[in-house]
């Protein structure tokens, strides 16, 4: 899986992302039991994107906020909002992993590198928009 991830990152490197999506990426593979690629978008290093590969799909994940940042009184309203904007949000969906809220996109393992690049560009844009939109629910 590490090889698969490295291959994806290498292919992403070869793309003209600046020209196609107006973004520039830097990436590396994090070790651990399950390899994960960390992708940093230039100028948006504070909100990294992560790629992980399972047997059946490729997941691009972006953590947007932790539970402790959410105003407990507005928590259920926030979740309601997340469900409501889930479908309109292009290519990404809201999720919760452990105590962190996230947005993510799932791709087929047969996806082209262009598809992955588009996914990452959207994920990054969506994450900024999502934090901006959910700000009213945060403490």
């Amino acid at each position: 899986m590490t090889e698969q991830l490295s291959a994806i990152l290498q292919n992403l490197d070869k793309l003209d992302l600046e020209g196609a999506h107006g973004i520039s990426l830097s990436s590396r593979v994090l070790g651990g039991e399950t390899p994960v690629a960390e992708v940093l978008v230039e100028g948006r290093e504070e909100i990294p994107l992560y790629i992980t590969i399972t047997d059946t799909q490729l997941l691009c994940i972006c953590y947007i906020a932790s539970e402790s940042e959410v105003n407990p009184e507005k928590r259920s309203e926030m979740m309601q909002t997340m469900l409501e904007v889930n479908v309109p949000m292009p290519l990404s969906s809201f999720a919760k992993i452990n105590d962190r809220y996230a947005i993510f996109g799932a791709l087929s393992l047969q996806s082209s590198v262009e598809d992955i690049a588009l996914e990452l560009a959207y994920l990054s844009d969506n994450s900024l928009d999502a934090i901006d939109a959910l700000d009213e629910f945060l403490v």
Partner: protein
């Protein structure tokens, strides 16, 4: 319980910590074994299906042939009767009876083969459904565990971006500040370019002796000489 149910229970019940399995390793092995067996079943059923279909095709051919022959001998029997050759007609009738007996056997065999084909196709369909359902469930289990472990890898990486992500609002503000700074820089660059452009135009004008020109040393000297001459 459905796999979805098990995943929900696990997430609720604090199997959140990485490494804790949604379904134990033995459960996964059973799933994988069942998928393996179902695939074997399909392979065998497909082999049998090919054989049975070939047998049925053979029956079909024989039935066509026997039907044709029966019709032919029926015509012959009629002809013999028309010619008043009763003995020959009886002989032909016996031949027809044999043909009909054979046709009956082949028709029954064809029905048996057709039933077998249906049943084999049903078995293959069932096995394929089982594989699809198990593979989907396995994918759910493995994805849940993979994401848990991936999160652990990310959390453990202290040099990573996530550890620098203090909070959502702060991160967004910093990104916006950077974007603003970059926009300002681009505006400033633009202005600077304009100014540089102007000054280079001035330089060209100056070179052409138009507009503001520096007094050359020779001009100063000639002015001084003129003054000295006046004295």
């Amino acid at each position: 319980m459905s796999i979805f149910g098990k995943i929900i229970t696990a997430v609720k019940g604090g199997a959140r910590e990485a490494g804790e399995a949604i379904v134990d390793a033995n459960g996964i092995r059973i799933f994988e074994q069942e998928i393996h067996e179902a695939k074997d079943q399909i392979a065998k059923a497909k082999q049998n299906l090919t054989k049975v279909m070939a047998e049925k095709m053979k029956c079909d051919r024989q039935i066509t042939q026997l039907t044709g022959e029966t019709a032919k001998y029926e015509e012959h029997a009629m002809a013999a009767l028309n010619k008043g050759n009763e003995a020959l007609a009886v002989e032909v009738a016996e031949k027809i009876a044999n043909l009909e007996h054979e046709l009956n056997i082949q028709t029954n065999a064809k029905t048996t083969f057709a039933t077998q084909i249906d049943s084999l196709k049903g078995m293959i369909r069932q096995a394929e459904e089982k594989i699809r359902s198990h593979e989907r469930e396995l994918a759910m289990i493995k994805t849940t565990e993979n994401v848990q472990r991936a999160t652990q890898s990310i959390s453990n990486d202290y040099s990573g971006g996530l550890s620098k992500m203090v909070n959502a609002r702060g991160s967004l503000e910093r990104i916006k500040a950077k974007q603003q700074a970059r926009a300002d820089q681009m505006i400033a660059q633009g202005e600077l370019n304009d100014e540089m452009g102007d000054s280079s135009l001035d330089a060209k004008l100056k070179a052409a002796g138009i507009g503001e020109t520096n007094s050359a040393a020779s001009d100063v000297l000639s002015k001084l000489r003129a003054k000295a001459g006046q004295k």
